[in-house]
Each structure stands twice: as C-alpha cells, then as structure tokens.
C-alpha cells in the first residue's frame, strides 16, 4: 500500500463530493491510469467524475502528469478538468 493525498477541482470535486481525501493505494495500482480505474470503484460520485478521461487532467506534486506517470508514497495527486482561466 502507498499513501497518497488526492485533490479534486471544479466539476470533479462536485461530482465526488469532497475536495480532498487521503487514500492507501493497493500495490497493483502503479500508474495514474491504474489509479483512475481503481478510483472509479470507490463510489457512484467517483464513477461519475471519472467516466470519461478525455476531459480529465492530472498533476502529481503540482506538475502536469500523464496516464503513464508512476505513483509514489506521499504524492499529492490532483485531478481536474482542462483549465479555463485567463
């Protein structure tokens, strides 16, 4: 198990119902893509948030990540929609 801190923003936060959660991730969950598949099973809200991945972005430790990015203990992992500032 690896402990990570999850952060959710914008409509992902609204669908999941929390802005952040501390999770113990099973050893078989290695990449961000694995994590998304695992998160879908946590609740109906998570499933709704992670139904499609085309409009999903991820940052690990405050830097943009990809589906192949590896997860490590202590990571801060944020999921959010494509950004719309400016």
């Amino acid at each position: 198990m690896r402990n990570v801190k999850m952060l959710y923003f914008a409509w992902l936060r609204e669908r999941i119902g929390v802005a952040e959660e501390d999770l113990a991730v099973p050893d078989g969950v290695i990449t961000i893509a694995d994590l998304i598949a695992w998160l879908r099973l946590r609740s109906a809200g998570h499933l709704a948030a992670f139904t499609t991945t085309t409009s999903l972005r991820c940052a690990v430790n405050q830097d943009f990540a990809t589906p192949e990015t590896l997860i490590a203990t202590g990571d801060e992992i944020a999921f959010f929609p494509p950004v719309t500032g400016g």
Partner: protein, 151 residues
C-alpha cells in the same frame, strides 16, 4: 524578474505599470492585456463568474509560463496577476504586462503569456446565469490552437 500574484482583490493597472517601470529607462515598449468578465455566455446573460484554482500549483505554473516567455523574448520584466473568487460582469480577471526594449517583443510576449495562461495554469471558471443556474466553462479548441501557435 516576473511579478506574479493570485488574489481576490482587483488590481490597479496604472500602479502595476508604474511598478514595472520604476527606476529604469531601458524599456522601449510595454504590452498590456486585461481580461474582463463578459456579461454574456452562450447567448445568455450571466450574473457572476467564479474562479477556482489549485493554490499549491498556480503560482508555480505561472512562474514557468513567465520563464518560458523570458527565454523566447528580450524581456526587462513582466507582470501576471490573476483574480480568483466571485467576480461580476465588467470586473477585471487577469492582467498581463510585458516590458522590452522593443515593441514587437513586448507585444508578442504579451500574446504568448495570456495564451499560455489560458491553457497551462490551473484556473477554472464557473458561470452563474440570471436564473441561478451554474455551469463550468469548458475549455475550447480556439484557446488550444492560440496556445499551440507559439510552438
């Protein structure tokens, strides 16, 4: 060199110009972009726009964008200020200033900075319509292609 801020309060464009130029006479051109809240979205009037961001990441992402501009153009300074929270139609959202010895670099860097801010900094807009309905703004392809033209 870049002055980067995320704040709920409004900004004073004149004061930011003055701060960027204070004590120096080597600037030949200043580019300025101000983004404001438009009162209409998808043909419907809005009451307000709420800006959310990822506090731990936002200023670092803005600093990376400013550093990319400083690598590409001969800049003597730049200012990036982005507001967050609830904003009303007509209010300022974002300020970009870029100072250079020369006009073209100042103008190009200003365009680059706002295009990259819109596509690479973790801000999200939610619009509240007159009937109280709320909708997250979706990222649009035009913003992506505007950012992509800088390579």
């Amino acid at each position: 060199m870049a002055n980067i801020r995320v704040q709920t309060a409004d900004f004073d464009i004149g004061a930011e110009f003055a701060a960027l130029c204070a004590g120096r006479a080597d600037i030949g051109g200043l580019g300025c972009f101000v983004g404001t809240v438009r009162d209409t979205a998808k043909g419907r009037k809005i009451n307000a726009m709420t800006l959310e961001h990822y506090p731990a990441m936002t200023e670092a992402a803005m600093a990376r964008i400013a550093a990319a501009a400083e690598q590409r153009w001969d800049l003597l300074g730049c200012t990036l200020i982005h507001r967050v929270g609830r904003l009303l139609p007509g209010e300022n959202i974002v300020l970009v200033l870029a100072a250079s010895p020369h006009r073209q670099a100042a103008l190009d860097a200003t365009g680059f900075l706002i295009d990259w801010l819109k596509t690479k900094a973790p801000f999200w807009k939610k619009e509240t319509f007159l009937d109280g309905q709320e909708e997250w703004v979706s990222a649009n392809d035009a913003d992506d292609s505007a950012a992509a033209r800088w390579g």
